[in-house]
Assembly symmetry: C2
Homo-oligomer: 242 residues x 2
């Protein structure tokens, strides 16, 4: 078709006043708390005309064209507003848009997923952590947020198989067994200790700090994530399934 | 922050009339033509107020809230309008949105990438195939379409390393050497013949048809893509680099 629809309806700026979809950003925020993978959810308001009143939903909201430089900045703003955390791992997950996902009209959301350290617990009062079990939360979520959450869990698990991503779930200082435990929680299966140790140390993503953790067992070396390291891709997966 | 901005500004439907970003879908359409990876581009119009007049751009356009059921349907419509092809491989690539990417205002595009067979050449007259060389096209593209194209090429190459995706670039019937050549064109490096053959046949994504191709060399078995097969993930990559 020769008539491209960006061409028609565009032209002079006065011709851009056709119906526009609602544009939102939603953030799937994961942390390991109480030895479980958890996701941060907020309760929908109950006001008149509000869709899914009182249901739980992913934190997010409309793009503010005056405030948000770009989609990632909008996602970072939502994350900060909801958790107080500013520099976690934030990755674009995908977009979900249709005529029916929001009763208020054609709507498209840009979904991100974020990993925050276990010790960043100062979340806002209207948000709550919900444990993930069997690849989902117990509650039914507003909009299509259940589908978005399922995709995010799948993405996280796939990446854990072949990247250093879980390091972003750790507190500032941690031991190798702490880190292994986080991999195991996300993957929901045990990993072999010496293979794990070799893999992580050779990936060069963490560095020892000049102290040991002392406790009931023998002292354990503490590590921290190397600054400025992007997530590292491993050449092979951990214990490839079958 | 307790005040979630989806809450403020939303509420009754009459309260949704804040500034909304422009919402577009763009499609990176790849084919192998003349033994090269090529991408389908269209020329921007030159009318008054049109951004990037006469520049080349990815085919795409505004979401039509009356016509498009969802983002994927919008992408399929763009693909059909531009190529006449209806059932190719279409995958979400990512979204690009900012205050500055379109001079007409805050704009977010949902980018898809599509693979079409080499024999689907009946494209529309305002579109043209441009060869990719060194990971890009020679021309400077409108908007941030150069960045989107770079991401799409990267995604395609990564996937070719570990999936059966290139089968979607093939005509209805093809030989194994034809298929190997397409992998080599996308990856821009030669593959070892017997390893390729073993990999492809064990992935069970193609099936022989009851005829041979005859020509100057000895007759070659023809294959077709198995119907309804999703792209298959290989356990290992081809010739892992280094």
């Amino acid at each position: 078709m020769a008539g491209e629809d960006r061409v028609q309806g565009a032209g002079q700026s006065g011709q851009l006043d056709f119906a526009r979809p609602l544009t939102t950003v939603d953030v799937v925020i994961f942390a390991i708390l109480d030895d479980r993978l958890q996701v941060l959810l907020v309760q929908r308001p109950a006001g008149e005309g509000e869709p899914f009143p009182l249901s739980l939903a992913l934190p997010g909201g409309f793009v503010d064209v005056a405030k948000d430089r770009d989609l990632a900045a909008c996602a970072a703003r939502k994350l900060k507003d909801k958790t107080g955390v500013t520099s976690p791992y934030l990755e674009q997950l995908g977009s979900w848009g249709s005529a029916t996902r929001d009763p208020r009209g054609w709507s498209a959301t840009h979904a991100y997923f974020a990993l925050i350290p276990a010790d960043a617990r100062e979340i806002t009062s209207d948000a709550r952590w919900c444990p993930i079990s069997g690849g989902k939360v117990r509650e039914k979520l507003a909009f299509d947020h259940g589908d978005i959450l399922t995709s995010a869990i799948q993405r996280l698990r796939n990446k854990v198989e072949y990247t250093s991503l879980p390091a972003y779930l750790m507190p500032a200082e941690f031991t190798l067994p702490d880190l292994q435990r986080v991999y195991e929680v996300v993957l929901d299966r045990p990993l072999e200790k010496s293979a794990f140790r070799t893999r992580i140390l050779s990936a060069d993503i963490i560095e020892p700090v000049a102290k040991m953790r002392r406790g009931p067992n023998r002292p354990a070396q503490l590590y921290r994530l190397r600054k400025g390291r992007e997530p590292v891709y491993f050449v092979r997966t951990f214990n490839p399934p079958e």
